[in-house]
């Protein structure tokens, strides 16, 4: 009788252990990250010119894009066609610029350069077909009027880096 009682009570005592939860945790991570590694700086090699070219005293902007999942995103880079802040300018500014693939974490990413699409003229789009990191270099040049000096002051222009889900 005592044995039976012991078996029944041990069964009752072990039953709650069967209900222990075993949660599975997960975290949704971003599949595309834009890293602003180097802000560009304009050099002023000529009185009427601002240029991010290192030979002109400037620094090109460097932007890294990390793609965690291949073929999910495309990236676009818009180089400036106006100043976001500057002294008052009385003449027109002629803008030019480009975006090129710099370092890559996967060798095959070098093909992005040949496959890039430029449309409109200041927007360059890359199809991110591989997972990994790609560094993009954005350059910008502003030429002011004809034989005119740019007024003294601080000039700021904006680059837009975009990651768009496909």
């Amino acid at each position: 009788m005592l044995k039976k009682l012991a078996v029944i009570s041990s069964l009752i005592l072990t039953t709650p252990a069967l209900a222990v939860n075993s949660p599975i945790n997960g975290q949704v991570q971003a599949k595309c990250s834009i890293w602003t590694e180097t802000q560009g700086v304009y050099g002023n090699p000529l009185p009427n010119k601002l240029d991010t070219l290192p030979a002109s005293g400037g620094t090109h902007a460097s932007i890294r894009v990390d793609i965690a999942q291949a073929n999910f995103y495309k990236t676009s880079f818009t180089h400036p066609i106006s100043f976001s802040s500057s002294p008052t300018l009385s003449d027109t500014v002629v803008w030019s610029g480009s975006t090129v693939v710099g370092q890559v974490s996967v060798t095959e990413m070098s093909a992005y350069e040949a496959a890039k699409v430029i449309s409109p003229s200041n927007v360059t789009t890359f199809d991110m077909t591989l997972a990994g990191s790609t560094w993009f270099t954005v350059s910008s040049t502003a030429l002011y009027g004809y034989n005119k000096s740019l007024p003294a002051g601080s000039y700021v222009a904006q680059i837009v880096a975009e990651c768009i889900a496909k």
Binding site: V28, Q29, A30, K31, C32, S33, I34, W35, T36, E37, Q39, G40, V41, Y42, T52, T59, A61, I63, R64, D66, Q69, F72, Y73, P80, S84, S85, S105, S133, S140, S154, V156, A157, Q158, I159, V160, A161, E162, C163, I164, A165, K166
Partner: protein, 128 residues
Amino acid sequence: MHCKVKLLLSVVFVFWASFGFAHEMTPAYPKFVTSYIDDVSVTKMKLFNRRDDVSYYKIEVWDNNWEPVPFASTNKIIKIGHNKSVSFDVYVQTKDLKYVVYICTISKNFKEDQKVTVIASRICSKID
């Protein structure tokens, strides 16, 4: 040797991924569900700011031709600290749902903070 290089590259990659100035948003392919308001649908997004030069992001909703679609959110411009994440809801009238293609966040910069060429970052999720 090859394995050691791979390991080193992984460590460097993790190091780079941990320190820097990044803008991230999830999910990549959000889905709208019925909200508690009649004829209004909602989706939840999460923004992560690792840019120490940016504290504000603007929410945008676009159609397939990059035309804006009317939407509501608690704040259309989100204030967010460095290395912080913020969840936000995007509400769209159910009748406009068929037009919604992209939900984006774009960094906003203060003019007085700008001393060099500024990089604005925009991340767009696509409606699944």
